[in-house]
């Protein structure tokens, strides 16, 4: 009985995580410019991977394998935002244009509201 409940919880975690991953991918395709695409990539991927790995950790129980899963989880959780930051800063500094409601704008540090 406990096995069945555990499996159901694990499957729920995996499915919700996959839904977030699909949403993030759709966001990367649908959003109009690089900066808003990065919102989809940075947030949805981090939460999707975390949820799926948490599901697998519950499935595995306490083990040496769990430790490796936790390490992957921590690593993705802490480095995902850093990678997104570095990409967006490179994009900002090399003058990639940004989409706003009024049209395409090139931002610089002096022109910020």
């Amino acid at each position: 009985m406990i096995e069945i409940i555990k499996s159901v919880i694990v499957v729920i975690f995996l499915i919700v995580g996959s839904l977030f991953l699909i949403t993030g991918s759709l966001g990367i395709v649908r959003f109009p410019d690089t900066y808003s695409r990065m919102h989809a990539s940075g947030k949805c991927d981090t939460l999707g991977i975390s949820l799926i790995l948490v599901g697998l950790i519950i499935y595995q129980g306490l083990d040496f394998v769990t430790v490796k899963l936790i390490l992957i989880l921590l690593f993705v959780f802490f480095t995902g935002p850093v990678a997104v930051n570095s990409i967006i800063r490179a994009s900002f500094k090399s003058g990639n244009k940004m989409w706003t409601v009024k049209g395409w704008v090139q931002w610089s540090k002096e022109r910020i509201e």
């Binding site: 949403t23 966001g27 649908r30 410019d33 808003s36 947030k43 939460l47 430790v67 967006i88």
Partner: protein, 169 residues
């Protein structure tokens, strides 16, 4: 105990735990190999690995950081629901804007933490950080920009500053 010795000891213990958990073999040969490589790595890199040298300060920062994580996870879930709503909405209601604000943080560690937290919370991404603590943030909608412009320092900056003992609450 001297400061550098403390940093070395902490990094040695953490890295050796990492070695044992990753190998999972308890034969003397592999344990000795772990000691040698861990010693080398922590001797070379303990200054980067442990940025806070005071034992009491390190403990206090660790406890406050652990207490900060549940709030951060809650914010991440809110952020994802928000982005998912905007992606799946047929007309894509986004209104991007770039803002800058002063965070009153001083050390690089706290600014990195705040930058990562901003990236993970609803509708905002850190673009750049100036050395004096000015943050440049890209917001997906105008309502996401308001919490950062209301007061100096904003709520998240004061939370992060409280972790590292730079801003009192």
């Amino acid at each position: 105990m001297k400061k550098s010795v403390f940093g070395f000891a902490i990094s040695f213990i953490v890295l050796y735990l990492f070695w044992i958990l990753n190998s999972g073999i308890f034969e003397p040969f592999y344990l000795a190999l772990g000691v040698i490589s861990t010693f080398t790595v922590s001797y070379l890199f303990h200054k980067i690995f442990v940025p806070i040298k005071e034992p009491k300060l390190l403990l206090r920062t660790a406890i406050r950081f652990l207490l900060y994580i549940p709030w951060l996870v809650y914010q991440i879930i809110l952020a994802n629901l928000d982005v998912a709503k905007r992606v799946l909405h047929p007309s894509m209601p986004i209104d991007p804007v770039v803002i800058s604000f002063q965070s009153n943080l001083k050390s690089e560690l706290s600014m990195t933490t705040l930058g990562n937290s901003i990236t993970l919370t609803p509708g905002t991404i850190t673009i750049d950080i100036d050395p004096d603590g000015t943050f440049y943030v890209h917001c997906l909608g105008r309502e996401h920009a308001e919490p950062f412009l209301e007061d100096v320092p904003c709520e998240m900056a004061s939370r992060v500053g409280y972790i590292f003992g730079e801003i009192e609450r």
